[in-house]
């Protein structure tokens, strides 16, 4: 005699296998499943070819310990790390703070504000390489626009702006801020515009206007967005090559390199690609925590502004 429990018990593994198989197939049957695989394969292939492979290849190229010994012994690398930290700290924070203030300014009503905004975004809209080259020429000590203007207007001989490490690095940072502030201003402006009018109106009724309104209402609501933008900007800036290359050229005497430009120099000027990869790899201890924090913030940002 077979009892009910036994029947259930005998049938269970078969049901489990079927459930597992269906679950793995996403509930798709027969031809549907084949088509689904056919559609997914190109995406996986693209991901493997253009994301996974380059990352793994890069890690492999920079995997020798001797490369890092060579790198750390190089005085240019040491000054490059200092430059990178300064570039990130000043470039990102000054830019984001300015963007935060300016986004408030551009919230003002009026058609002229729209015109002003259009002019304001121009530095971001124009191609960056040509603008950075223009800045390089503008700052030329002998025939650059800036020194000629100083001489014509005030009979003052301007300095050779790009001949000193700190002035050249300052020029790079200012150029970056000038170029990218409009973009982040637009992002934060969009964030401000997404704050419901009711919240602002009720805060106003309660007397939270001006600075108090910003401190107690606007900024807390924008805080997550501001942090995400800051993290993203830091990651973008770590890989930035153009500002240094075209404004200071990494000079004078290789004193204004950042990790991205040093990596290119080592890879192609020294014809030592592994060393170049190793130089860029040393940014990973900073990039990985940034990405982790960014991912977490993006999750929380789903329920906040």
């Amino acid at each position: 005699m077979i009892d009910g429990a036994s029947v259930v018990g005998v049938g269970r593994p078969a049901i489990r296998r079927g459930t597992l198989s269906r679950s793995l197939r996403g509930g798709l049957k027969g031809g549907e499943y084949t088509w689904a695989v056919a559609f997914v394969v190109p995406y996986i292939a693209v991901f493997v070819a253009f994301v996974a492979y380059p990352v793994v290849y890069g890690l492999w190229m920079g995997s020798e310990i001797s490369l890092y010994r060579e790198l750390f012994a190089d005085p240019i690398y040491q000054s490059t790390v200092v430059n990178t930290v300064l570039y990130l700290a000043l470039g990102v924070n000054v830019k984001m703070f300015l963007a935060l203030l300016l986004s408030g300014f551009f919230m003002r009503p009026g058609w002229w504000m729209k015109v002003l905004l259009l002019i304001f975004v121009l530095p971001w809209a124009v191609p960056q390489i040509s603008t950075f080259i223009s800045i390089h020429w503008m700052l030329n000590g002998e025939w650059g626009f800036l020194n000629n203007a100083l001489y014509t207007l005030f009979h003052v001989e301007g300095p050779s702006w790009l001949n000193d490490r700190w002035m050249a690095l300052g020029a790079v940072i200012v150029s970056h801020i000038w170029k990218w502030t409009p973009f982040w201003t637009l992002i934060l402006l969009a964030g401000r515009m997404a704050i419901p009018l009711e919240i602002r109106d009720s805060a106003r009724v309660d007397g939270a206007t001006g600075v108090r309104g910003f401190v107690h209402i606007t900024f807390p609501l924008l805080a997550n967005l501001y942090l995400i933008c800051t993290l993203l900007s830091t990651i973008f800036l770590l890989g930035d090559f153009n500002a240094v290359t075209f404004v200071s050229g990494g000079g004078p005497a290789n004193s204004t390199h950042v990790l991205a430009t040093l990596g290119i120099r080592d890879a192609f000027e020294l014809a030592h690609p592994r060393l170049g990869v190793a130089a860029v790899m040393t940014a990973l201890p900073l990039v990985i925590p940034l990405v982790i924090v960014l991912m977490r913030k993006l999750r929380t940002a789903e329920v906040q502004l």
Binding site: W143, G250, A253
Partner: protein, 459 residues
């Protein structure tokens, strides 16, 4: 509309596969007669036109196909380094920079091409033949890994009009080394007295960018007697007092000229094109810069500059301070075949065709003479001996017919690393900007050079 079933898709795929198999022999046949060739873009468009013509002529004559890529200068260099590193290589490339031949021959990355060089061996200059060789640290042998194509030398470019404006004459420029360069300091002093606010006597590239500063320093090093810093056996001779003294004098003169205000302040951060631009802007009276690009670049737009105002002296370098001739270092562009190239046969055939005197001579002349031939017989052509041209005869005299020598990296690739690390530049800059004594600057430079050479031991 036909119904698309899984089977029909599979059938279609099988049919496509079969078609590909049938087509494969034709593709394979095409590949056997096709070679991929990479060249760096010319400084003037005529160079690229000349190259395309030479390639088209070869294709017509041979029936083979050349897949030619003309790539801008800097990306070409990056592409070559990337190709050699990854192993996905063209069938032939030109050297860019030239020392890439010795750097990668050291790692056994190029194919030996003595069979190609042999076809014109009697034609090549001795300097070109030396420059085509390199030491392979795997086989422990020196061999021909490059095929000489064209060359460049570092002439002095002078604004004759500025010299005259200073109340002096180009005919009066002294013929010995220090006096020659001191003359331009006097030109600057005179021009300043006339109220010229921004004219400098000397366009020395005391910078840590590009290839110019190493060329400049080497010219001074040789002129001061330090030519044996690296000998043909690849050995370094920093302990030779003559070499040390010459290096100290070179750093002292070049850095000192900057420190004393005879070189444009921005020179400390110039790249290879900046000195050309500054010269064209008449920021300095003279420039020591490789090739005739300074003159060729203005030939069309400012013919009066080319034919009248810019002087290249036509005598090569001045003599050394004792009156002996100073040999010019010649950089030779090479044709290279990477190991792993798929179609070596066509690449070699193309190179053999390309280095025939008639073909390579025409290629160089169509490029307006920015580059020099590497075969003395070509110097006799009407183009190079044109009496109406104020630059070409002097240029070919300096770079082909006069005393020349190959660069030091030919004997030991360590010197290429010395250049790309800008060791000489740092010595010049230490003197120019940091107030360091030349002796101390050279002591530091020598220490680094020794460290670099320790990585390149030649048996």
């Amino acid at each position: 509309m036909a119904h698309l079933s899984r089977r029909s898709v599979l059938r279609g795929s099988v049919a496509l596969g079969a078609a590909r198999l049938l087509a494969a022999p034709h593709i394979a046949k095409a590949a056997a007669t096709t070679a991929t060739v990479w060249f760096a873009q010319g400084f003037v468009q005529d160079e690229d036109v000349a190259l395309r013509k030479a390639v088209a002529d070869y294709e017509k004559a041979s029936g083979n196909k050349i897949e030619l890529s003309i790539i801008p200068f800097a990306p070409h260099r990056q592409k070559v380094v990337s190709a050699i590193t990854s192993g996905v290589v063209p069938d032939m490339t030109m050297s860019n920079p030239n020392e890439i031949l010795q750097l990668f021959a050291w790692q056994d990355k190029w194919l030996e091409v003595s069979d190609v060089v042999e076809t014109q061996q009697a034609q090549f200059s001795e300097t070109a033949l030396l420059a085509a060789q390199a030491y392979n640290s795997v086989t422990k042998k020196r061999g021909f890994y490059g095929v000489p194509l064209r060359a460049a030398v570092v002439p002095c470019h002078i604004w004759g009009s500025l010299v005259e404006k200073a109340g002096l004459r180009t005919e009066d420029i002294p013929k010995t080394w220090d006096a020659y360069f001191d003359f331009f300091k006097k030109v600057q002093d005179n021009l300043r007295k006339q109220g010229e606010r921004k004219v400098y006597g000397l366009g020395f590239q005391v910078t840590a960018n590009g290839v110019d500063p190493a060329n400049l320093f080497n010219a001074f090093l040789i002129a001061y007697g330090g030519q044996d810093i690296v000998t043909k056996d690849g050995k370094l001779h920093l302990d030779d007092p003559k070499v040390r003294q010459a290096a100290i004098k070179a750093a002292g003169y070049l850095g000192g000229a900057y420190r004393d205000g005879y070189v444009p302040p921005s020179a400390i951060n110039w790249n290879d094109a900046d000195d050309n631009n500054a010269f064209h802007a008449k920021l300095m009276v003279m420039d020591v810069d490789g090739t005739l690009s300074t003159e060729v670049a203005v030939k069309d737009k400012h013919p009066e500059w080319y034919y009248k105002d810019i002087v290249t002296q036509g005598i090569g370098y001045p003599s050394d301070n004792a009156g002996k001739p100073v040999p010019s270092i010649v950089g030779v562009t090479q044709g290279l075949i990477p190991k792993g190239a798929k179609n070596v046969t066509v690449a070699k055939e193309f190179l053999k065709y390309f280095i025939q005197p008639k073909v390579i001579g025409e290629f160089i002349e169509l490029g307006l003479g920015r580059w020099l031939p590497v075969m003395p017989s070509l110097a006799k052509s009407a183009f190079w001996q044109n009496p109406k041209d104020p630059h070409l005869r002097g240029y070919i005299q300096q770079g082909l017919l006069g005393p020349t020598r190959p660069d030091y990296y030919v004997f030991n690739p360590a010197m290429a690393e010395v250049y790309s690390e800008h060791v000489w530049s740092m010595a010049m800059i230490d003197v120019a900007k940091e107030g360091v004594k030349p002796e101390a600057a050279i002591e530091k430079a020598f220490k680094r050079i020794e460290e670099i050479f320790a990585k390149y031991k030649i048996a």
